[in-house]
C-alpha cells in the first residue's frame, strides 16, 4: 500500500532522516518505535509532504513524493499530528466537520458513529476545541482525521501524556479503526499499545530503521529493546 525507500530529510544543515525505508500492506497495522528525537515524526511529516525530502514514497503504485499535503490527503492518507492541533476557536462538531474532504461525504465513519463510540465527545460537541482536555483533544484529533475516511492513517504518539484510562480509550479506537479495514502507521515511544495491536514493528534510531520484525520477536529480544527503546 505504502512503500517508502531511502528517505532523506534535512532541517537546515542537520541530516535528520538518513535513508529510511519501510512498507505498509493493505489493512496492516504497523508501528514505528524509537526514542525521542530519532526522526519518527519527521518521517511521517515527510510522507505527508510537509518536509522537503529525497527518496521515493509510493502509495498504491503512485509516486506521491512531489505532491502537496492536501493532494496526499485526497489520495487517502490521513495524518494525526503529535501535538493534536485542534482548531481552538471551532467547536468539537466543527472540528469534525472540517475533517470531511467534501461536505456531507459518507465513508466508513460518520459523526453519529464517532459520538456513539465516544460519548465523551458528544458531551463536548458544542464546546470550543480549545477548552477540551488533552485526552479529549487526542480522541477528537483522530476522529477528525477519520471523518475524511482515509485508507491509511498515520498517528503520531497518540498516548503521550494521557491518563491510563484515556490510553485505554485510544487503544480501543485504534482497534476499531483496524477492524474497519483501515491501515495504520502508529508512531510510539512506549510499547504498551503498539505491541498489542501491531502486526509488524519498525524500530528507529538516529534517522535510520535499525530493526524490524513482529511484536513477538521484539518481546523476545531484550537486547534490541535495551539498545534502542528503553529510556
Amino acid at each position: 500500500m505504502l512503500r517508502v525507500e531511502n528517505l532523506h530529510a534535512y532541517y537546515g544543515k542537520s541530516h535528520i532522516l538518513q535513508g529510511v525505508s519501510l512498507f505498509i500492506g493493505e489493512g496492516e497495522i504497523v508501528s514505528l518505535l524509537g526514542r525521542n528525537g530519532v526522526g519518527r515524526s519527521t518521517t511521517i511529516t515527510a510522507i505527508m509532504g510537509q518536509v522537503a525530502h529525497t527518496g521515493s514514497i509510493v502509495f498504491r503504485g503512485e509516486d506521491i513524493g512531489g505532491l502537496e499535503a492536501h493532494q496526499i490527503a485526497q489520495r487517502g492518507i490521513g495524518y494525526v499530528p503529535e501535538n493534536r492541533n485542534i482548531f481552538p476557536t471551532l467547536t468539537t462538531r466543527q472540528n469534525l466537520l472540517l475533517g470531511e474532504k467534501k461536505p456531507g461525504q459518507t465513508g466508513r465513519w460518520s459523526m453519529a458513529d464517532l459520538f456513539e463510540l465516544f460519548p465523551l465527545l458528544r458531551e463536548r460537541a458544542d464546546f470550543p476545541g480549545g477548552v477540551l482536555s488533552g485526552g479529549e483533544q487526542q480522541l477528537l484529533a483522530i476522529c477528525r482525521t477519520l471523518m475524511g475516511d482515509p485508507d491509511l492513517i498515520m498517528i503520531d504518539e497518540p498516548t503521550e501524556g494521557l491518563a491510563p484510562q484515556l490510553v485505554e480509550q485510544v487503544g480501543r479506537l485504534l482497534q476499531e479503526i483496524a477492524d474497519r479495514g483501515v491501515s495504520i502507521l502508529l508512531v510510539e515511544q512506549k510499547l504498551t499499545i503498539a505491541l498489542k495491536i501491531s502486526k509488524r514493528v519498525y524500530v528507529m534510531g538516529h534517522g535510520k530503521i535499525v530493526w524490524d520484525g513482529t511484536p513477538q520477536e521484539l518481546r523476545a529480544d531484550p537486547q534490541i529493546r535495551r539498545e534502542w527503546l528503553e529510556v
Binding site: 492536501h70 482548531f87 471551532l90 472540517l98
Partner: protein
C-alpha cells in the same frame, strides 16, 4: 454636545474605513504570516479605479467593478508572485510586498499623475440625509456607514457559518493541519488574499472621494492600518475592529475638541517660562498632535502589551 455626536459619527465612520482595510490585512497575516506592505496600495487602486470608472459609467457601477478588479489583481499577485517567493521565507515575502507597493505607486503616478485626481462624491448623494442635534449628516457619509456595517455583518456570518469560513478560521491557527485534512490551502490563501484586497478596494472606492485620491494616500493610510493591526493583535479580526474604531474616535475627537495642553501643564505645576525651548509644546492643542496619536498608541502598545489587545503572539 452637538460636536460630540458629530465627531462620534465621523470617528466611527473613519474607524469603519480603517477596519475595512485592516480586516484583510490581519486575515492575511493570521493565515499566511505575511505582513502585506502593499495592502494600502490596493486601497489606493480601488480609489483610482473608481475615479476612472465613474468617469465612464458613473459611481454605482464603479462601486461594484473597482473592488472586483482590485480583488482579482490581489489574487493574481498572490498566485504568481507571493506564492513563488514563499519558499524563501518571510523576509523575502516582506520585501516582495514592499516592491509591489512601489510598483503600484509608480504605475499610479504614470497613469494619473502626481497631483490629486478630482474623484468626487456622486451628485445624487450630495444632500443632507439627516439633521440631528443641529448638525447635518450628509447622505454619502450615512451611506458609507451603512455599507460598511453591512459588509462586516456579511463577513462575520461568512466566517462563522459557512464551511469555507470555518476552514479560514482553522487555517488562522494551523494551516498545516488544514492542508493535511485535504483542503487546498494554497487556493484558500489566494481567495483570502483576493478577498482582503477587494475589501481594501471597497474602502478605496468609498473613502477616496472623502479623503482625497492621490499617490500619497497609500502610504498615509497604510501606516495607520499597521498601527491598527498591531494594537488589535496580529491576526485578530475582533481586535482590528476595536482598534480601528478606537483610533478613528481618538483622532477625530482630538481635532474636534482641540484641547489645549496649557491647562494640563499648569495642573502639573509646570509654568510656560520653566519649559524653555519646550515652550511651544505648551501652546499646542490636541488637534496639533492628532496625526501622531496613532503612532503614540503604537509605541505604548509595543512597550506594554506587544501582542496587542487580542493577539495570539507577540509582534
Amino acid at each position: 454636545m452637538e460636536i460630540l455626536f458629530f465627531s462620534l459619527f465621523n470617528g466611527i465612520l473613519y474607524g469603519l474605513l480603517l477596519f475595512m482595510l485592516s480586516a484583510g490585512l490581519t486575515l492575511i497575516f493570521g493565515m499566511m504570516g505575511v505582513l502585506n506592505f502593499a495592502h494600502a496600495s490596493f486601497f489606493m487602486l480601488g480609489a483610482y479605479f473608481a475615479y476612472q470608472i465613474s468617469q465612464f459609467i458613473g459611481f454605482w457601477p464603479a462601486l461594484v467593478i473597482a473592488p472586483l478588479v482590485v480583488g482579482v489583481a490581489g489574487a493574481l499577485v498572490e498566485r504568481y508572485g507571493l506564492r513563488q517567493v514563499h519558499k524563501y521565507g518571510h523576509v523575502a515575502e516582506l520585501l516582495f510586498t514592499f516592491g509591489i507597493a512601489f510598483v503600484i505607486e509608480e504605475l499610479v503616478q504614470m497613469v494619473w499623475g502626481k497631483a490629486p485626481v478630482p474623484y468626487e462624491i456622486p451628485q445624487s448623494m450630495k444632500f443632507t440625509a439627516l439633521t440631528w442635534q443641529g448638525m447635518n449628516y450628509s447622505a454619502y457619509r450615512v451611506f458609507m456607514v451603512l455599507i460598511s456595517v453591512g459588509i462586516f455583518a456579511a463577513l462575520y456570518l461568512f466566517l462563522k457559518r459557512t464551511r469555507v469560513g470555518l476552514i479560514i478560521q482553522a487555517a488562522l491557527s494551523y494551516p498545516d493541519v488544514v492542508g493535511s485534512l485535504g483542503h487546498n490551502v494554497p487556493r484558500i490563501f489566494m481567495l483570502v488574499f483576493g478577498f482582503g484586497t477587494a475589501l481594501a478596494g471597497i474602502a478605496g472606492v468609498l473613502g477616496g472621494n472623502v479623503l482625497g485620491t492621490e499617490p500619497a494616500m497609500a502610504l498615509q493610510l497604510g501606516t495607520i492600518v499597521f498601527v491598527v493591526i498591531v494594537v488589535g493583535g496580529l491576526g485578530s479580526l475582533g481586535g482590528a475592529l476595536i482598534a480601528s474604531i478606537f483610533i478613528g474616535l481618538l483622532t477625530n475627537m482630538a481635532v474636534s475638541f482641540d484641547i489645549p495642553f496649557r491647562g494640563f501643564f499648569e495642573a502639573l505645576g509646570v509654568s510656560p517660562e520653566a519649559m524653555g525651548t519646550g515652550k511651544d509644546l505648551i501652546d499646542m492643542t490636541s488637534s496639533g498632535i492628532s496625526p501622531i496619536l496613532p503612532y503614540l498608541l503604537l509605541v505604548l502598545m509595543l512597550i506594554f502589551r506587544p501582542r496587542g489587545l487580542f493577539g495570539q503572539r507577540d509582534v
